[in-house]
C-alpha cells in the first residue's frame, strides 16, 4: 500500500485516482474534526468537502515537510474557523445545566450533566487553547502535528495545550466551590485531595 506522500506525488503527476484514495483514507477523520468544531452536521460536511477541494487545488504547494494528514487538518481547521466567524457563538449556559438531582437516584443524568459542563468549559477556552486541547485529547495527535496544524512552534503548541488544561482545572474547581451539590463534587476529577473519584466510592 502506498504512503500518503507517495499518493500525493502521484496526484501531482496527474493521477486522479491517487487523490480518490487520499479522500477515502482521511474523510472520516476530517468529518470528526469538523463536527467537533462546528457541531452542526451540515456545516461540518461542507467543511470536509471544501477542505478536500482546497487540498486538491493546492496540492502542488504541499512539500512534504509535514504529514499529509496534518496539512489537510490545517486546511480544515482554517476553513472551519472561517465558518465559525460567520456564525453567532452559542454556549451552553452553566445556569441551564440541570443540577437538581436526587442524590444517587439519577447517576446517568449526573454523568451527562458533568459532560455538558466540561464541554461548555472547553468551548469557553481561548481559540488556540481549545484547538490544541482538542487535537491532543480527542484526535490523539502529537505536539509536532499540532504545531504543524496550528502553524506555530512546537513549544507554543504545547504551551497552549497546558494552559487550556490548567484553565479548565481552575474553572471546574471554581464551579465546585459554587455548588453544594455533593454528587458534582464526587464525580469531578480535580486533584488536591478534596474530591473523590467514582472508583474510590
Amino acid at each position: 500500500m502506498k504512503s500518503d506522500i507517495e499518493l500525493v506525488e502521484d496526484v501531482k503527476a496527474g493521477d486522479r485516482r491517487a487523490f480518490s484514495e487520499l479522500v477515502q483514507r482521511h474523510q472520516r477523520a476530517l468529518l470528526r474534526l469538523s463536527l467537533r468544531f462546528l457541531r452542526e452536521p451540515s456545516l461540518a460536511e461542507d467543511v470536509v468537502q471544501e477542505s478536500f477541494i482546497k487540498a486538491y487545488e493546492k496540492i502542488h504547494l504541499f512539500e512534504g515537510r509535514s504529514s499529509f494528514k496534518s496539512w489537510l487538518f490545517q486546511i480544515a481547521v482554517n476553513t472551519a474557523k472561517n465558518r465559525l466567524r460567520s456564525l453567532p457563538h452559542e454556549f451552553v449556559n452553566i445556569d441551564d445545566v440541570h443540577l437538581g438531582i436526587d442524590p444517587g437516584a439519577e447517576n446517568g443524568m449526573v454523568r451527562e450533566d458533568l459532560r455538558k459542563v466540561i464541554r461548555s468549559e472547553v468551548d469557553r477556552l481561548p481559540e488556540r487553547q481549545r484547538l490544541a486541547l482538542s487535537l491532543r485529547i480527542f484526535e490523539d495527535l502529537s505536539f509536532k502535528e499540532i504545531a504543524q496544524i496550528m502553524a506555530c512552534p512546537y513549544d507554543t503548541a504545547k504551551a497552549n495545550y497546558r494552559h487550556g488544561l490548567m484553565r479548565l482545572k481552575e474553572r471546574l474547581e471554581t464551579l465546585q466551590g459554587q455548588t453544594d451539590w455533593e454528587d458534582f463534587e464526587t464525580m469531578l476529577p480535580v486533584e488536591g485531595g478534596r474530591m473523590r473519584t467514582e472508583v474510590e466510592q
Binding site: R16, Q24, I53, R136, M166, E191
Partner: protein, 114 residues
C-alpha cells in the same frame, strides 16, 4: 533536592502525563512521586481531568459505509467538475431537489440513531 517539598507546578505533571518530560527532570519527578503523596494526588487529578475531557466527547460518526461512499463520490465529482466549488453546490442542491434523503439529513439521522 528536597523531595518532600511542595508539589511541582502543574505544567511538569502535564508534561509527565503527555510523555513530554525533559530528560533532565525525569529522575527528579520520579523521586518526587515516590516521596510526595501530594504530588501523586496532583498527578492523579490531572490524569482524571484529562480522561473526563476525553469522555465528554460528543462527536458520533455515522457507521454506515454508504454514507462515506456517497461523500467520497460527491467530493470526487466536485473535483472532476469544471469549477469544483460550483460543482459542489450543484451536487448538494440536486440531492435536495429529488426529495430523497440527502447527505446532510442522512448524517443527522445516523447520528441520532447512534
Amino acid at each position: 533536592m528536597n523531595h518532600n517539598s511542595h508539589p511541582r507546578p502543574d505544567e511538569w505533571w502535564i508534561d509527565l502525563i503527555e510523555g513530554e518530560t525533559e530528560p533532565s527532570l525525569s529522575e527528579d519527578l520520579t523521586l518526587l512521586l515516590l516521596n510526595s503523596p501530594a504530588g501523586r494526588e496532583r498527578l492523579r487529578g490531572l490524569k482524571e481531568l484529562r480522561q473526563a475531557i476525553k469522555d465528554s466527547d460528543e462527536v458520533l460518526l455515522p457507521e454506515d459505509g454508504t454514507y462515506y461512499r456517497d461523500m467520497h463520490s460527491r467530493i470526487m465529482a466536485a473535483i472532476d467538475g469544471p469549477n469544483p466549488r460550483l460543482q459542489r453546490l450543484q451536487t448538494k442542491h440536486t440531492g435536495a431537489e429529488t426529495g430523497s434523503l440527502g447527505p446532510v439529513s442522512r448524517l443527522h439521522a445516523l447520528i441520532k440513531k447512534n
